[in-house]
């Protein structure tokens, strides 16, 4: 049981911020008094987070291969030792076909095409697996699947309400992933960002919860640190020792920050309702100005107070909360991660970010390492990923400590860390049945699991249109920024001009979102927002990868049906089955795009004889050739009146298709 050591009261304990070589220099902030008018608007580049835009992509691998293979070998030692102790046999090594399909799904987010599968399976080079790992980790598809993973974790959604859109934030996240920016720097960027939703990508993270900052805090601690504080938001945690005071101490670090500006919102609303404007103006103005009330700024005082119904005697109800960081048992007193200066309210966020992302922080590295382990193996070393309060409760505590160590040694490079995991023997073993008890799983192999919604959708797209689906990148942020209007320019006199000048753009922006009822992403409306050209549209579906569609996808989209998170709470993606899912696969538009004129069928049609055609379809759908009885069965069915599209339908609906072995 975790024991929480007395809080570190920091007001008096002041130290010089520790300089970290891995950390980018902290920027000096613009100070802004609570009552002051907004600063004069600048031209509107994304100034919140210069580092992100300027930082060059970390193109090549950071760690050399001998380090990667050495680290993988040591992880295997730890895993195998635990297996041996428990008397559990490791699964046999996975064959090339299973490895191929799994790695594509994990690293590229989709199954390989027929050509990609055949090329790998017939490649006789001994190092073809590491070569494929490196290639996929540096492909555009890597960014796409990582975005899906992040989006579920960070609750990324297009619509912040009342016309405000987070498109720039989404683009920013994709840029970070493409540039392979280290996780600590990325999180610091999100926690310290300033600026408007329409002009500052990184600020979108905090603005997501600008109207519910305490819930945002709760999510942040749970997601980034595995500190299970959601109970402590309202009362002392009944089991762990987080107190409500702890929670408020943490939340106070954001108590001098403001994200949603009610005054701006009301002013825009009042002006846009004016009778002097032509009908329909309100909708147009909503699109253009909806983001204006959302702006991260720092004030000169911390305003968070304990709740009026606070019922413990360690603080007074309604009194101002003191910023203080929580600490875990066993955390060394001299831990530099704990040294924080709380004297300057406007620097509180920076101090908090520095504390949280410090390499010596006792949970930050472990939390992200554990989450990526789950992404790779299907189950985390410690479950649930939202609660790392007691690391000794991990299925294999030594393994948890080890992966946290490698995360730090990789300098929070998520791609390199995953490269290590993909090189383990454990990852390259056959999948094992998903255990009844995830908390004691020792990783004899990865857990067998259903594809995520995004993997299923992106794989179906691969069948329909081939690898070209990786080329269409939805980037809507620049449009948003181009139309951003500084607050002080919003006057009755300018509104009319805005409406007249931006009618077309506003309509387009409205269409670029999911729409009110969210029935279906309108292919034509989204088309102008794609870099790499508009994706093909068939059977009413836009064949763009899950990461390149509205976030989250509209409610009755295939993605949502198959369990994509609605992004209301963190980690809400599911792989549960349902009747509508089966109906969609059997009768819906997805089976249409796979059985009519699909890339997979074209490939099969080009193959020589019937056995070759059957093999081509098996390669396309299951990334393996058919076993002899399967080929015979399929051939018999083709003689008996079924055609290749029928075989495609059967393969799509097979359970093997939907599962990651």
């Amino acid at each position: 049981m975790k024991r929480l050591i007395a809080l570190f009261t920091v007001a008096a304990v002041v130290a010089v911020p520790v300089a970290l070589d891995a950390a980018p220099p902290l920027r000096k902030k613009k100070k802004r008094a609570a009552a002051e008018a907004p600063p004069a608007a600048t031209a509107e580049p994304d100034t919140s987070e210069k580092k992100a835009r300027i930082a060059p992509a970390t193109a090549g691998p950071l760690l050399d291969r001998s380090f990667v293979t050495g680290a993988a070998a040591r992880l295997d030692e730890t895993i195998d030792a635990a297996l041996q102790k428990a008397g559990v046999a490791p699964a046999p090594p996975a064959g090339d076909a299973v490895f191929l399909r799994r790695l594509y799904l994990d690293a590229a987010g989709r199954i390989p095409t027929e050509e990609e599968a055949r090329a790998f399976l017939t490649d006789s080079r001994p190092d073809k697996r590491p070569v494929l790992i490196d290639r996929l980790l540096q492909s555009p598809a890597y960014t796409m699947q990582m975005f899906n993973w992040l989006a579920g974790m960070l609750r990324v959604k297009d619509d912040y309400g009342r016309g405000a859109k987070s498109w720039l934030y989404e683009d920013w996240l994709k840029e970070q992933l493409t540039a392979n920016r280290p996780w600590d720097a990325m999180v610091r960027g999100m926690l310290t960002a300033e600026g408007k939703l329409n002009t500052s990508g990184a600020s979108g993270f905090l603005l997501r919860d600008a109207q519910m900052p305490l819930d945002g805090m709760s999510n942040m601690l749970t997601t980034f640190l595995g500190a299970d504080v959601s109970c402590a938001q309202c009362h002392d945690h009944p089991f762990a020792e987080w107190t409500q005071k702890d929670f408020y101490g943490m939340a106070a670090f954001f108590g001098a920050s403001d994200g949603f500006h009610e005054d701006t919102f009301r002013r825009i609303r009042r002006l846009s309702r004016s009778e002097a404007l032509p009908p329909g103006s309100r909708g147009i103005l909503n699109q253009i100005l909806g983001g204006n009330p959302f702006e991260m700024v720092d004030l000169d005082r911390q305003r968070l107070r304990y709740p009026e119904d606070y019922k413990y005697d360690n603080a007074k109800p309604g009194a101002k909360a003191e910023p203080a960081v929580i600490r875990w048992e066993g955390e060394a007193n001299k831990n530099p991660a704990g040294i924080i200066d709380t004297r300057n309210p406007a620097e509180l966020r920076e101090e908090f970010a520095k504390w949280m992302t410090h390499p010596d922080h006792p949970r930050f590295a472990a939390a992200i390492a554990n989450r990526l382990w789950k992404k790779t193996f299907g189950i985390a070393v410690q479950e649930p990923v939202s609660d790392l309060d007691n690391p000794q409760a991990a299925s294999n505590p030594a393994l948890l400590a080890q992966i946290a160590g490698y995360m730090k040694q990789a300098k929070f490079d998520l791609r390199e860390y995953q490269r290590i995991l993909y090189h383990t023997k454990a990852y390259q073993r056959a999948a094992v049945a998903f255990p009844e008890d995830v908390k004691h799983f020792l990783f004899p192999g990865p857990a067998l699991r259903r594809m995520t919604a995004e993997q299923a959708w992106d794989s179906i797209l691969t069948l329909a249109a081939g690898a070209q689906i990786d080329r269409h990148h939805l980037r809507r942020g620049d449009d948003l920024r181009a139309l951003a209007v500084p607050d002080e320019q919003i006057t009755m006199a300018t509104l009319q001009t805005l409406v007249d000048e931006h009618r077309t753009e506003a309509r387009r922006m409205q269409a670029g979102g999911a729409g009110k009822k969210g029935t279906r992403a309108n292919p034509r409306a989204l088309a102008p927002y794609y870099e790499g050209g508009p994706p093909p549209a068939r059977a009413g579906l836009l064949l763009a990868r899950a990461s390149e569609l509205p976030q989250p996808a509209p409610e009755n989209h295939f993605l949502r049906l198959f369990g994509q998170s609605d992004r209301l709470v963190a980690d809400a993606d599911t792989t549960d089955g349902s009747v509508p899912q089966l109906l969609a696969l059997m009768n819906g538009p997805v089976q249409e795009i796979v059985t009519r004129g699909s890339a997979a069928l074209r490939g099969a049609a080009e193959a020589e004889g019937r056995p070759e055609k059957i093999t081509a379809l098996y390669h396309a759908f299951l990334s393996r050739p058919p076993a002899e009885p399967e080929r015979a069965q399929a051939a018999a069915a083709l003689r008996d009146g079924l055609a290749l599209p029928d075989l495609a339908w059967v393969l799509l609906n097979s359970r093997e298709f939907l599962f990651v072995q």
Binding site: R155, G161, M212, D215, S218, N219, D228, S230, Q233, P384, S386, A433, F434, P435, E436, L448, R449, R450, K517, G518, E555, N556, G563, L568, V569, A572, T574, T575, D576, G577, S578, V579, P580, L582, L583, A584, M586, N587, G588, Q591, E592, T595, A627, P629, E630, Q633, A634, A637, D640, G641, L642, D646, L647, W649, V650, L651, S654, R655, L658, F659
Partner: protein, 426 residues
Amino acid sequence: MKTSGHGPSEITRRLFVERLARTAFGLSVLPFVPGRGLSETAAPARGAGFGAAKAVIVLQLSGGLSQIDSFDPKTGTSKGPGEPLGTKAGYQLTSYLPETAKVADKLCVIRSMTAKVGVHESARYLMRTGYDQRGTVVHPVPGAWAQHYLGASHDTLPSSVCINRNAAHGNGFLPATMSPLPVLDPDEGLKNSRPAANDATRDKRLALLKSMDSAFAAKVQDASVNACNDFYESTLKLMNGKDLEAFNLSGEAADLRDRYGRNRFGQGCLLARRLVEGGVRFIEVESEGWDMHKDIEGGMEERGREFDAAFAALISDLESRGMLQHTLVAVTTEFGRKPTFDGSGRGHHPLVFSCVLAGGGVKRGFVHGSSDAAGGRVAGDPVTVGELHATMGWALGLPLEQAVTSPAGRPFTLGNNARPVAALFA
């Protein structure tokens, strides 16, 4: 699952099979195995109305129904554009609800609903789940709670359906298979239920699929294979069988369809009745457009008329089929509207508003609670949204006191520990 020496109950068996199913096929629940629920093993004698309802239909009037212009008419400065309308049950409605007035003797009007939330999205969430909206957890709708306690309500049809609206994560923290099945257009019915190929081709496809799947199952070597075959079988049964007819309105008589109203809400109400007949337990039907800041008169003449016709038709249709006694119909909204009438519309007002119940064991021709003379505050017998939810759960015979632990380890109950309102039951 830890057991404590007792023999495996139906629930543990179900959970066990469910785990196995998840192992190989990612299915969280065998959706079509109607379970015998906790209430049967743990239901001692309860009070009036407990378990009287086999099904619940919730009519959601989104935007905020003006209580004063519908179920709680006022005079003086609060009076709206409509006139008071007497009913045979002795209470008054407004002149916008003439058809409803004819079934007033079958209704139980609550005029003392009260809440704190006056923002649309949060209020809608509260009314739908019984909980304040939070950023850290999503709460289930009553249909999901019922499926948790009682098991699935039918062997092929879903246990919960929502009409004219999205499911919006209605399962909350419960498994996704407890989420309501959305029907966005009542005329269209269940999506993707029409087979993609002709019968002969389909049979051949399925035969090939079956043999392929059994090869995979043998390879994966998991005991859940047979359990999962049930799942595919059930979907096929639903596609081929007559249960699907529950979603098809074309079989209804034209004059009955007219009586419900040829609009999405009216047809949604009719579909709800069909689904209850088919075996669906919990149905939501949404009507949008009740946010009448301006022009209540026009709004009530349009939306109000649609609602009036559909609601009255639903009540009398259920009654004439002998279904009303075991079907609880609830009219809910987001909040009420202000007593101050500016000659056009009214603002949001959560402090007092009206909801209506009918059937499912509640009193008939009854008014519960009251608002003050102006219609601004509760004058007697306040009812919270949580209590309304507990009341629905009580009518369905759910063990309200048995908390459910969310995956994050936090305990929750239907209605957030509120008690059912006993005075509502006959």
